[in-house]
Symmetry: C2
Subunit: 350 residues, 2 copies
Amino acid sequence: MTAEDLPLRKRRPTIIDVAERAGVSKSTVARALAGAESILDETRERVLAAAKAVGYERNHLAVGMRSGRSGMLGLVIPDIANPFWADVARGAQDRAAEADVSLLVFSSDWDPAKEESHLRALRRARVDGAIVNPVSDALDDLDKFGLPFVLIGSSAERFADVSSVGSDIAQAVQLGLDHLVSKGHHAPTLNVGPKSRLARTRFLNSVQRHSIERDVDPGQLVVEDGEYTLEGGRLAMLRVLDRPRLGHICVFAANDMMAIGAMMAVRERGLRCPEDVSILGFDGIPSGAFTFPGLTTIAKPGRDIGVRAVESLFDEIEGRPEHGRVYMPCRLIDRASLADLSREPRKLAG
Amino acid sequence: MTAEDLPLRKRRPTIIDVAERAGVSKSTVARALAGAESILDETRERVLAAAKAVGYERNHLAVGMRSGRSGMLGLVIPDIANPFWADVARGAQDRAAEADVSLLVFSSDWDPAKEESHLRALRRARVDGAIVNPVSDALDDLDKFGLPFVLIGSSAERFADVSSVGSDIAQAVQLGLDHLVSKGHHAPTLNVGPKSRLARTRFLNSVQRHSIERDVDPGQLVVEDGEYTLEGGRLAMLRVLDRPRLGHICVFAANDMMAIGAMMAVRERGLRCPEDVSILGFDGIPSGAFTFPGLTTIAKPGRDIGVRAVESLFDEIEGRPEHGRVYMPCRLIDRASLADLSREPRKLAG
DNA sequence: TGACCTCGTGGGAACGTTACCACGCATTCT
DNA sequence: AGAATGCGTGGTAACGTTCCCACGAGGTCA
């Protein structure tokens, strides 16, 4: 039994071992394993049995070398510890596994230098293609990447001529706004990101379009800038609270971290959520379930984005480039941070 | 320029292209690239310059095939969307990148079947070794893995004869308990996991040992079982609150999710944290920063575990197996869920 | 019945690299 | 001075697979 174990551990069986055992040539084995046509059923079965008997496993390294296809894909995301990106990674992982290819996941930690080094690592590993959420807005390093790739995330949108996958901000905003009016909130204060960011513009545009459709004057929308962080959200909310304003306040935050920061600001000022102020988030991070009250938010379809990105990448690799952007729909997570003003209109409107 | 771009995209330069350009043989190029000795400095420089000029990049697939080393490592964790495991992955990733090897990260999603299929994928990808947090307690599939590997997480501890890396529970418990007594809490209620789990035993043993060292009778420690989840923690806390008991309650939860669940239970009963009950968590998940009040907890060194696991795996691959367990130290995150009873002893002790 | 086709199979070559051996030259030892 | 040693280099055989071509057997058609 030791004699049977040792050679197994020493040298892994090859196609030739299988051929010998089955009494055929290695070409035949290759054909049988590839499930190709033009091979006698009886032969195929004999080969497959032999392969199983010797414990054969295809050597992907050799395959990759000969065929030029490594059977590996790359994924570069800004932060693996961020649940949203982790979710994207999982979606991509699962979809890739379905197609029997491996996925190399890299986290650039928001560092352009690290991102570039990861891209190099992907080239060296000879991946067949890559999915990237570019940290920097410059596409230079991707231009010379020289491999099929698709972009993910909102920063990808500015490159109209490359395939990309992202969440459907317009649909998400509509979802959120509709939910707000159903609860009696008609013109929320918008806590958005810094002016430099593309996502801010998209978010605001969507809100305006939706308002116009609903015959609400976009002019009465109040906008408060802030960093896309907990502290940024807190500070923005503090400024909102400082404004002279009567009645219930409703805030639509550009992301969940800002929303949670806003919640902290509300508590700081001795006010209560949702009694005094309603807060709607955007992202769907798990932490939102553990705040008090639980954060009502719009969840981005991280997993679906990962899945779809892999599919787009397959298209790209196989030479049927769609060269367009795909928008994945978001969904509402209804928790407890929104007051229902539609039932008990104790506050005066306007 | 198109003429210069096309061949680059078509066929990537090989060692032979470099050799031709440098006017040497491919053996010499290989030597120069390997940074080997016994080569003229002038020749080496010429080769390196030529490599740069043609844009040569080593083909890891071919290297792997010839040398038997793929330059890839595998990592199988139970849940990539869990920030702790994501942190482990990042640590492993960074350490691997340092050594110029790629890391294949797989999430088994707590599914033994998925785990096994990922292990197979790793074998097929010809990784040089793997780091695994086994979902099932059975090691069968790992036995026949046939590749160097190291285990991570607490479930690994039962296999004394394989290398493994985990957090130092004993040190963590001591840290937590010391912090508790410094705040005036001497015998916390222990909200621990289900009886079947190994981690429970370790946790309790550590607490007992520490109590004895501090001359506290372990008999007065009260233990409450619960699932390792938010709901499990909530239910356990409800049971604690149902007990007839005077004064301030202090709870040491076996993980952060249970701690957050406990916090919800406290609020549910109209009590306040930390005024009426103090809660200490264990894990260090990011969500703990967003609860109200912020959760004081002991953070497991996810990143360090990842780093160390890769280092142990290198040892294993290079044939210097240490065959032992490595314990990485935890650290305290002091937030706001603990009352300070040492300063204002308004409650009577005993 | 001979030319042609199809089918199943075998025999190489090739992919890009590393490992090993051999060769020529200069230097040093006996 | 001839042999032995060292160094720098070139040539070639692997590694395990796939791709392409060739070959024989059997069938079909004129």
